[in-house]
Amino acid sequence: MTDETKFKLLAAFKRIGQRIDISDFNARLVFQKRVYLLQELGLQLGNGYGWYIRGPYSHDAASDGFQLQSIQDHLEPSRGLPELSQDELKSIEKFEKLISDSEKKFKGKNKTYIMELLGSLHFLLKYGYPSSGDKANALRKFYELKPQFKENAEAALELLEKYGL
C-alpha cells in the first residue's frame, strides 16, 4: 500500500468499528481476508494478493497491518485520516452487509472460518479460473484444496454473487 492507501484502510476499519489486529494467526488471517474483500468490493488499496495455503495472502498487507497496528491509537479522532469518497463508503457498506449476511448464514462458524471460506472461493473464481465458463473447475479445485468448506460452498457462492463479487 502507499501511505495514502494505508491510511484509507485505517479509515475503512474505523468506519466498520474494527481495530487493526494482527496479534495472533487467526487475527492475521481475518485481517488479510477483510482487506482482500474490501479491495475486491471497490476500495482501492493496491495490495497484490497471491494464492497460499489458507487462501489469498498479501505480504504488503501483512506489513502494513503491523505498521498500522502501532499507530492507530495515536491518531486524534477528528483528524488524520483521509476522507472516504461516496464510492468508497458504498464499498464499505457492501462489505458490512456481506459480513452480516454471512454471519447469519453460517451461524456457529467463527470469523476465521467465514473469512477463509469467502476469500478463498472468491480468489479461485476470479483469479484461479478467470474465464466465466470455468466456474466448475474453480469449484472442483476449491473442494480439492479445502474440503472442510464443502458443505457451505454453494451458500458462499450465492452470497458472493449477491454482492457482485
Binding site: 497484490g48 505498521q67 488524520g80
Partner: protein, 429 residues
C-alpha cells in the same frame, strides 16, 4: 500429452557462465526469450538501485539475477522431480520460465522507483508490469506449450493448480532470495550473504503443501536466515543507501507530477523499443535534462548526481520482541500521517520537501510459525514442524523477533531546526 521426465529432458542450446552459479544452461525457448529486446533491457537495470554509492561493486544487473534465479528454480524443481512431487518435465520448464521472467518488469533502479510509481497507481508494481509484458509484448509470441497467462500467474502467485509454486516464488525460502543473497554478497563484497545453496536445494522438500528442509539441511537453513538478516542491516537498509533512495524517489515523483517522467499507465503503453530505453539510463538522462530546475528539484538532482548525501538526523532501530516497540519508534511513526508531517514542517520551519522519512517493513528473522510462508524442518522420524518452534534450532530463539528501523533525513543546514521539531512534535530527543 505429458512428457516423462528424463535426464536429457532439458536440452540446452547455450551455456552462459555466471559469476555466482557457474554455467547456466538455456534451452532453445529460453534463449529466444533472453535475446528479445525486452529481456536485454535488464542489462541496464541495476539490481541494487542506489547501493553503488556505498558499495562501488554493486553494479550487477537484473539480467544476471534473472538467469541466476532460473538456475536456482531449476535445481529445486529437479529435486522435487526426484521426489516425485513434480512428475512432468513440462512443469520444470514452466517454473524455469517463471523464474527467468519474474523481474522482467522491474523499474529503473529496481525497487527504488516502485515507491513513487505505486503512489499514483494501485497497479504500479514490477510484478504487475511483468505480467503485462508477458501477455502484451513480443514475449507473448514465444510461448508454445504454455500460455502467457500460465507463466504470469505463477509470477503473480495466482497459479492455483499447485499452491506450492507461490511459495517457491515468494516465501521464507524462495528462489529469488536464494540468488540475490549470494549475488549481492559476491558483488558488494559483504560476506554475510554467502549461503550454502547446494545444501539448501538438495534438502528442500514439500510437506503437506509447506516448504520444508530435511534435518541434514538445518545448518544451511539457519545460515540462510541469518544471512538475510545481516545483508538487510549491512546493505539494503544501509543509512546512506536509504538516503539516496529517498532522494531519487522524491526527484522522480516531482518529475512525474510535472509530466516529465513516465507514470505507470504510460509505461504500460510503451512499445517494446520504447520500453527497452526505460532503464537506469533513462533516469540519468532525466536528471541531466532537469538539473537547471528551480528549488527544490534542482538542488535534489544536483545532490544525487554529486553524491551529496542527505544527513540522517534521527535513527531509531533495534530488535523488537513479541511486538513490543521502543516507545520512541511508535511516536516517530506518526510522521507518516499527513497532518503530523505538516505540523512538523510548521513547527521546525523546514519545508516538507526537505523532510525525508524512512520506515521499511519490519524485518522478521522468521515468519510466524503458523503462517503459510513459514519454513519447516523435517525430523528424522518424518514429522515436520516450523523451524520457529524447533527447540533444537538456535534460530527458534529468534522467533517473534523482528528488526525495526525508522530514520529521518534532511540537508545539513536544517539539522538543528528539524531535531527541535521532532522533539516538540513527537517527543523524540
Amino acid at each position: 500429452m505429458k512428457t516423462k521426465l528424463s535426464d536429457s529432458s532439458l536440452k540446452f542450446e547455450k551455456l552462459v557462465y555466471d559469476s555466482v552459479h557457474g554455467y547456466i544452461g538455456l534451452t532453445e525457448q529460453e534463449l529466444k526469450i533472453v535475446d528479445t529486446i525486452i529481456f536485454q533491457r535488464l542489462h541496464n537495470v541495476r539490481q541494487l538501485g542506489t547501493a553503488f554509492f556505498v558499495y562501488p561493486g554493486a553494479t550487477h544487473s537484473r539480467f544476471a539475477h534473472s538467469l541466476g534465479t532460473m538456475f536456482v528454480m531449476s535445481r529445486i524443481a529437479q529435486r522435487l522431480a526426484e521426489l516425485n512431487i513434480i512428475e512432468d518435465v513440462d512443469e520444470i520448464k514452466k517454473l524455469r520460465l517463471a523464474a527467468l521472467l519474474h523481474d522482467i518488469g522491474q523499474f529503473p533502479f529496481s525497487h527504488v522507483l516502485e515507491v513513487p510509481i505505486k503512489r499514483y497507481s494501485e497497479h504500479g508494481t514490477h510484478e504487475h508490469l511483468s505480467a503485462h509484458l508477458i501477455k502484451n509484448s513480443c514475449l507473448k509470441e514465444l510461448f508454445d506449450t504454455y500460455t502467457p497467462d500460465e507463466i504470469s500467474s505463477i509470477i503473480t502467485k495466482k497459479y492455483v493448480e499447485h499452491p506450492i509454486y507461490s511459495l517457491l516464488i515468494s516465501s521464507d525460502l524462495d528462489v529469488d532470495r536464494i540468488d540475490y543473497l549470494m549475488r549481492d554478497a559476491h558483488e558488494t563484497g559483504v560476506s554475510y550473504g554467502f549461503i550454502d545453496t547446494d545444501r539448501l536445494t538438495r534438502t528442500i522438500i514439500i510437506d503437506e503443501d509447506h516448504l520444508a528442509v530435511e534435518d541434514k539441511g538445518r545448518q544451511a537453513l539457519e545460515n540462510f536466515l541469518m544471512a538475510r538478516y545481516h545483508m538487510y542491516q549491512t546493505v539494503y537498509y544501509h543509512k546512506t543507501v536509504v538516503g539516496f533512495e529517498l532522494l531519487l524517489q522524491r526527484i522522480y515523483e516531482e518529475l512525474m507530477n510535472q509530466g516529465k517522467a513516465y507514470n505507470y499507465e504510460q509505461i504500460c503503453a510503451l512499445s517494446d523499443e520504447e520500453f527497452y530505453h526505460y532503464n537506469d539510463n533513462y533516469v540519468w538522462r532525466l536528471l541531466q535534462e532537469n538539473q537547471g530546475e528551480p528549488e527544490p528539484l534542482g538542488d535534489l538532482i544536483s545532490r544525487f548526481k554529486k553524491r551529496q548525501r542527505l544527513k540522517m538526523i534521527k535513527e531509531i532501530q533495534g530488535i523488537s520482541v513479541s511486538g513490543r516497540e521502543k516507545p520512541e519508534y511508535s511516536r516517530l511513526s506518526l510522521i507518516e500521517i499527513p497532518y503530523q508531517l505538516e505540523g512538523l514542517s510548521k513547527k521546525s520551519g523546514i519545508p516538507k520537501d526537505w523532510i525525508f522519512y524512512s520506515k521499511p517493513k519490519p524485518l522478521e528473522i522468521l515468519s510466524k510459525a503458523e503462517d503459510e510462508t513459514a519454513i519447516r524442518i523435517v525430523n528424522e522420524d518424518g514429522t515436520s514442524i516450523p523451524i520457529a518452534q524447533d527447540q533444537d534450532s538456535i534460530i527458534s530463539m529468534l522467533y517473534n523477533s523482528c528488526f525495526l528501523s525508522s530514520r529521518v533525513y534532511t540537508k545539513d543546514e536544517f539539522e538543528l531546526a528539524l531535531l527541535d521539531g521532532l522533539r516538540d512534535c513527537f517527543g523524540c530527543s
